[in-house]
Symmetry: C2
Subunit: 268 residues, 2 copies
């Protein structure tokens, strides 16, 4: 496991986080932003209308310095100086949901991506929910059937933003029955740790340490000790075989050490 | 792990087995019955009409000696000599789907249950699908929310028929997103192995060996090496924590050794 280099903080949310009541996760985002400016990137959505109002309401009494929207219609816009300057004095960015491929195809290798990376490296916050969560890994899950045992070949992956290394993220995890597809992704290369995040639940990454908050759980799928897999031999419609996968179920208060690949109990 | 004592064979099906086309699993049931008589026990259902016709059609060209229905309206009927005699010369029994509590509450500790056990012990076949699968374990899963991370306290278990020891069975597994609840059941007592069976998939148990057939997979959840669990401490609406669970994904051709608690690759 490589060390995660940045001084910043990732807040990776499994989608559908509480935006009305206790707002446990958004409160944590605001706390990390420390009264600074948060940029809401709605670029994952083809119809971003409503997202900003919704989050503005949710964050209204949570002591943000400022909340501003960043939307780009296409790649050309992602190089616009006016778009780029929004990120200059930001303390954090929050990617809302939609389609993870829209995020990477619109801002991948643009000035915006460089600014997001710079923000993270100088100690800023990068948060993302649903599609905005998936996009944080180096290789991201794009598509794959839920609620069925994973079929070899039925999994689409693509390069993500690469803010967290050697991890592949899935969201809406228990809610959409995605255990099969995450285990399938890990089978492709057990170097990569699977991280399945439930709705209204977040994995907060600071350096090599992950802390879990929210009402569900984070599932870590570790293929290090896998003894048998049929991923390379099987037909593409063939059901996955995988022996000796290690799984950790981590609810609020639990953590995970990415370097040691070990779960952390609430009392540690 | 205790040794499984019987000379018989269990065919534990995750529900919704193919009854029209290839009928891989029903073909295996018929093969094990070896031209003998198969009793279709529709007792799990409150409205058993149609089940018998459906299975009669499905088994029609599969070389069964005879297919007869066994239904009991209530516990009194479960002691009827005419009902009991149906099982005397049977080579196998097949429990169709419905409600597992109906099976155990109607025939538990009756003459029928004794005859099923005797059939199994003399080398007969006990098959069951969906509710008929759950009922085979000593402690069976009755109810528990699917598609959500398991909440401590949200799991109802009851004594089953006890044909397989130290195993707890769940069905419609990937299809209904039941990983959370099976892992929750295992957390209660890691002596018990979790066995989640997909639809159109069967675990065939002969002695200590399990073989998997069908289009999905059997998930074995082994809690032997669990290092942390909050089952006893947590509030009942609290999400489950469980560290170091071992999981095996076993599709068609894979197996499992119950005594050694080890998966078996297709080439063994």
């Amino acid at each position: 496991m490589h060390e995660q280099g940045s001084k910043g903080c990732l807040i990776i949310i499994g989608g559908n986080e509480d935006r009305k009541d206790e707002r446990r996760i958004l409160r944590e985002v605001a706390r990390e932003v420390r009264g600074g400016k948060l940029v809401l990137a709605t670029v994952a959505s083809r119809r971003p209308e409503g997202y900003f109002d919704d989050y503005q309401r949710a964050f209204s009494d949570l002591d943000l310095g400022d909340l501003v929207e960043l939307y780009v219609e296409d790649r050309v816009e992602a190089g616009d100086r006016s778009k780029l300057s929004v990120l200059d004095d930001a303390a954090g960015i929050f990617f809302s949901g939609g389609d993870q491929l829209r995020i990477t195809s619109q801002i991948g290798d643009t000035g915006i991506e460089a600014k997001v990376r710079a923000l993270y490296e100088r100690g800023g916050v990068v948060a993302g929910t649903s599609a905005g969560a998936s996009v944080m890994s180096e290789t991201m899950l794009v598509k794959g059937t839920s609620q069925i045992t994973h079929r070899i070949g039925d999994l689409h992956m693509a390069p993500g933003l690469g803010l967290i290394r050697d991890v592949i993220i899935d969201q809406h995890f228990a809610e959409r029955g995605r255990f099969g597809r995450l285990i399938g992704a890990v089978a492709h290369n057990p170097r990569v740790l699977g991280m399945g995040i439930d709705e209204d639940t977040a994995a907060i990454v600071r350096g090599d340490r992950i802390d879990v908050i929210g009402s569900g759980a984070v599932y870590v799928v570790d293929g290090t000790h896998v003894t048998h897999s049929n991923v390379a031999e099987g037909q593409s419609d063939c059901a996955l075989a995988l022996h000796d996968v290690r799984v950790h179920v981590l609810p609020d208060g639990n953590g995970y050490d990415l370097k040691e690949r070990r779960p952390i109990s609430p009392d540690n």
